[in-house]
């Protein structure tokens, strides 16, 4: 077998040519066995550079192409397409990274040239063993699963449903709405949060193209882009939704009151059978079995007695439903940082230290105090309030990242406190970050009109131990005011901790369930942080909203819509072509040892009992190579990463490397 390889060396302006002697490299490469032509050019990725390659393929009859340039991550697709246009199978192309792996990591021109040679030699050796591969074409199921019924998920679901496709919207809580339903006002416009959210909730609840699955969780996901099968557990509401009219009588009659730690953030009470808030969608209540008198003591049944439609069903069980979708959007949101983790701020110990969600409920007209900002005694209006920024954020002891929303949230709190109580407000901040539309104007407005004091410094402690006159009965905020270079003790009546956003406590399990990755902080990982922010490395699974990283409502809505647009685009294509880099089992060589059976992160491997061999579903396989490495018999081959390809690449590299050194002793 004799191949005609073309080697193309990119200058990348001065990025590569500034360090690597591209002319010498090109001359050297031209002398390699099987290399028919070697050229260097200023920008291989430019249309002129690509035309150069195309022309050579056609005129010189090249059968393989190597481009030594940036990284495959950046331009592999570019050059594959270039080969394809010239009639060469795109997989007969190989890239050598002489920018990221050479010119950007050394200034030494001698070693740069040698390493470039080694990488090109490896690529030339490898490309000869490359095989022509054809993409795998599969149909796309037009149905879509959206996980998470917060504002992001609602937005995504509505966009897709309006485009004419069916959406299954799965929400863990009894109602959609998410955190936004808990908020009082939204920054910087101070719109009433519920007023702008509930119409969208209503639309989602009544849209003919949306199947709402609340009080439900996804249990299992099988399949691949275009063809996922999803199992969802619908937790027993103990209320027959076919009969329930949402009249609320059961809730009125239920004698059991429970502290509502979810929707009311522990600030208010709910019943054992309840809807979390009056505008809940759907309107059907759920029964809290752990707190229901009937379930705990065997008597009561007040709800059943008074229900006018006989909808209460104590015997109702969880139901697992299964359906097929083509794409999935994860919009699972966030958990609030637990302020108890910073004991010196006194949260959970000092009554009048609140976290941000508690304050939202306190300030909310539909909340437990009817929107009155009062202390925990239920009567006292605070005269002074301290708002501490960056609680649990930008702190290497807790979370290193900025939670993005806390500055604006704190400014909003400052405004609301001032408006409702006239109290003196202090903001304790490290930096004020107000970068988006109308945000800084809001900050300036607070600065100018609200007489709010801003203290730049990280709060050391919130204490009730008075030391100085005027501190008795107060919460004292101990802080270094870095702008005046002094320690200060500021007595206040109320402290609001602007707690950061954290990934959901079960983000890692959810990521695993859907076959996507989590960052070290456990935010879901997008395919590319700048250029592909809502896709993931798993085709057909998208992420949107805070589950991908901290962001505010406008950005979450944008991402929800963006993910929806990506999905609609895919569904409109009706078919998707999958990268043919897949693993396959050679049944002759497989002895059914079953080592690989539990290795596949995509559940693509099944064991055929009758044949005694394992088999890989090529559509499910994502080409990760885990099973290829695990197979002790060498019976599994990963196409485009065959032994021949990898070993010849190593040989090619070592040929150059060892040429520089003495041979290994005999």
């Amino acid at each position: 077998m004799s191949e005609k390889v073309g080697v193309y060396i990119c200058h990348c302006g001065a990025n590569i040519a500034g360090v690597v002697d591209v002319a010498a490299l090109s001359h050297w490469a031209g002398e390699l066995p099987d290399v028919a032509v070697a050229r260097d050019y200023k920008f291989m990725c430019s249309s002129l550079g690509q035309e150069l390659i195309e022309k050579d393929i056609q005129e010189l009859g090249l059968t393989r192409v190597v481009v030594a340039a940036c990284s495959p991550h950046l331009h592999e697709a570019t050059f594959r397409n270039c080969c394809k246009r010239a009639g060469l199978n795109p997989y007969l192309f190989e890239m050598a990274s002489i920018r990221e792996q050479v010119s950007w990591v050394t200034a030494n021109k001698t070693v740069a040239l040698e390493k470039s040679k080694a990488l090109i030699s490896g690529a030339v050796h490898r490309v000869i063993h490359n095989q022509a591969l054809e993409p795998i074409i599969v149909d796309i199921n037009p149905n879509v699963l959206v996980v998470g019924g917060g504002i992001t998920g609602i937005q995504a679901a509505l966009e897709i449903a309006d485009a004419g496709y069916h959406v299954y919207l799965v929400e863990r809580e009894p109602s959609i709405g998410g955190h936004m339903a808990q908020f009082d006002k939204t920054f910087p416009t101070l719109d009433c949060s519920a007023c702008i959210l509930t119409p969208k909730m209503f639309s989602a609840g009544t849209h003919p193209n949306i199947t709402l699955l609340t009080w439900s969780e996804v249990e299992k996901v099988d399949g691949y882009v275009g063809n996922f099968t999803v199992k969802v557990r619908q937790k027993a509401r103990k209320v027959n939704t076919e009969l329930c009219t949402g009249c609320g009588i059961c809730e009125q009659k239920c004698p059991k009151k429970v502290i509502d730690t979810v929707f009311e953030a522990g600030m208010g009470l709910r019943k054992a059978v309840y809807t979390p808030f009056p505008q809940a969608v759907p309107k059907y209540p759920v029964m809290d079995v752990q707190n229901c008198t009937f379930f705990q003591k065997g008597t009561c049944k007040a709800c059943e007695k008074f229900c006018p439609t006989g909808a209460i069903d104590f015997k109702q069980e969880d139901k697992v439903v299964s359906f097929d979708v083509g794409n999935i959007i994860l919009a699972t949101g966030w958990d609030l940082f637990d302020c108890r983790r910073i004991p010196q701020y006194g949260y959970g110990r000092l009554a009048n230290v609140y976290n941000s969600l508690e304050f939202e409920r306190l300030s909310n007209a539909a909340g437990p105090t009817g929107g009155k900002v009062i202390l925990r005694d239920g009567v006292t209006v605070p005269q002074s309030v301290g708002i501490i920024h960056c609680v649990g954020s930008r702190d290497k002891n807790y979370n290193p990242y900025c939670s993005a929303i806390c500055c604006m949230q704190s400014l909003k709190f400052a405004h609301l406190v001032k408006e409702k109580t006239g109290a003196q407000v202090y903001n304790f901040y490290i930096d004020i970050r107000t970068p988006l539309k109308a945000y800084d104007e809001f900050y300036q407005h607070i600065l100018e009109t609200d007489e709010t004091r801003f203290v730049r410094g990280k709060v050391a402690e919130v204490t009730d131990a008075a030391r100085l006159p005027g501190e008795e009965g107060k919460l004292i905020i101990q802080v270094e005011d870095t702008l005046i270079g002094k320690q200060r003790r500021i007595p206040v009546d109320m402290v609001i901790l602007s707690a950061g956003l954290e990934p959901r406590h079960d983000a890692k399990e959810v990521a695993k369930l859907f076959g996507i990755g989590c960052s070290a902080d456990q935010w879901f990982i997008e395919r590319h942080p700048k250029l592909d922010p809502v896709a993931t490395m798993t085709e057909g699974v998208f992420v949107a909203g805070v589950c991908q990283g901290p962001k505010d409502i406008p950005l979450s809505v944008t991402q929800g819509a963006a993910a929806a647009a990506r999905v609609i685009g895919l569904v409109n294509r009706k078919q998707v072509s999958l990268e043919p880099v897949r693993a396959s089992v050679n049944a002759e060589q497989c002895s059914g040892c079953r080592i690989c059976n539990n290795q596949c992160p995509f559940n693509a491997i099944s064991f055929l009992v009758d044949k005694g061999v394992s088999e890989i579903n090529p559509a499910l396989c994502q080409g990760c190579g885990t099973c290829v490495a695990a197979c002790p018999a060498g019976a599994i081959t990963g196409s485009h990463y065959t032994n021949a390809q990898i070993l010849s690449q190593i040989e090619g590299i070592l040929e150059v490397e060892l040429g520089q050194r003495e041979a290994v002793p005999a």
């Binding site: 080592i595 059976n597 695990a630």
Partner: protein
């Protein structure tokens, strides 16, 4: 017409391969009937100069066992290559280095030191071998030992590979039948470079034990547990190399309730049997906790000796880094 000529030679090996050939019982008579045995040091008297006197390719079939440990081994390998029409790397040592190849984990000097100084060595005067000795009759020489043990095909081109430590008698018999049939024009020899006298998958294929998905919490040695006769040994925590070892032995060790130790070498198309074993075994450790994983791995007392018991000299690395 003169009978085709047969030769068998041992280089760095234990002699088990020779016994395996004799162990084919009455089939040895077929060898004698069909071949003229011209050179077989263990079985008959022969001199190297007799071989040197032969014309090139005169020996029809040469079974070469043992690895290349010293200059005499290498000289004979080259000589027999030249004089043989068909040279077979016979048995694990010639194929992949086998137990002598484990010396590649250390240096030639350390091997000599160990051999002449361990507690079990009876060496009251603490002598060491000398390559050259001026005896009264004249200067005496013994072969010079190499730093690295090499496999036969690392020294000369090899026509066929016959794995096993030693190759199973039924496989030897089959190969002999095939060669005889080929000589009579009744059969065709496989293409050069082929592995003969072995199967094309792994020992698991011939093993009748029940297998399911593997999740290992603890590795155990054979004496530590009463082994179940039916269940896959690896699933019981016994390091069995069957899954990474070429078939052909009828899974004799697992059938006798002992783990496969890997003597038939890597499966077809596998380059490095030990690496395959390691990556397979590490894939099925049932823990995500680093400390627990360490503890589980501590159950593998001799990783190099376990995974590279036979294949170190032919592995990707060949040897530990030379000093």
């Amino acid at each position: 017409m003169a009978k085709p000529k047969f030769a068998m030679y041992w280089a760095a090996s234990c002699g088990g391969c020779e016994i395996a050939v004799l162990n084919i019982a009455e089939k040895i008579l077929d060898v004698d009937a069909n071949f003229d045995v011209v050179f077989w040091p263990v079985a008959m008297d022969a001199k190297y100069k007799d071989v040197e006197g032969m014309s090139d390719g005169e020996i029809t079939l040469c079974l070469f066992n043992g690895g290349i440990r010293n200059d005499e081994n290498e000289r004979l390998a080259k000589l027999l290559r030249k004089k043989s029409a068909v040279l077979v790397a016979f048995g694990s040592c010639a194929n992949e280095g086998c137990i002598p190849g484990l010396a590649n984990l250390t240096s030639g000097k350390a091997v000599i030191e160990t051999a002449f100084s361990t507690v079990s060595t009876d060496n009251p005067h603490n002598v060491r071998p000398a390559y050259d000795y001026p005896a009264a009759e004249g200067e005496l020489h013994i072969p010079r030992m190499y730093e690295t043990l090499k496999t036969l095909d690392q020294v000369v081109p090899v026509d066929y590979y016959m794995p096993g430590c030693p190759p199973e008698s039924h496989q030897i018999a089959t190969v002999i039948d095939l060669v005889i049939a080929a000589l009579k024009g009744e059969a065709k020899l496989p293409p050069a470079g082929a592995v003969i006298g072995a199967g094309n998958s792994t020992v698991c294929d011939e093993c009748s034990r029940k297998r399911s998905e593997k999740l290992i919490k603890e590795f155990r040695r054979t004496w530590q547990i009463p082994m179940d006769q039916q269940e896959c040994l690896l699933e019981q925590g016994i390091l069995c190399s069957g899954m990474a070892t070429r078939s052909g032995c009828n899974a004799r060790c697992p059938a006798a309730n002992m783990p496969c130790i890997g003597c038939y070498g890597p499966a077809p198309d596998v380059v490095d049997q030990g690496a395959r074993m390691m990556s397979a075994v590490s894939s099925v450790i049932d823990s995500k906790d680093p400390a627990e994983i360490e503890r589980i791995l501590d159950g593998i007392v001799d990783p190099a000796g376990t995974f590279y018991r036979f294949g170190l000299a032919s592995s990707l690395l060949h040897r530990a880094k030379a000093q």
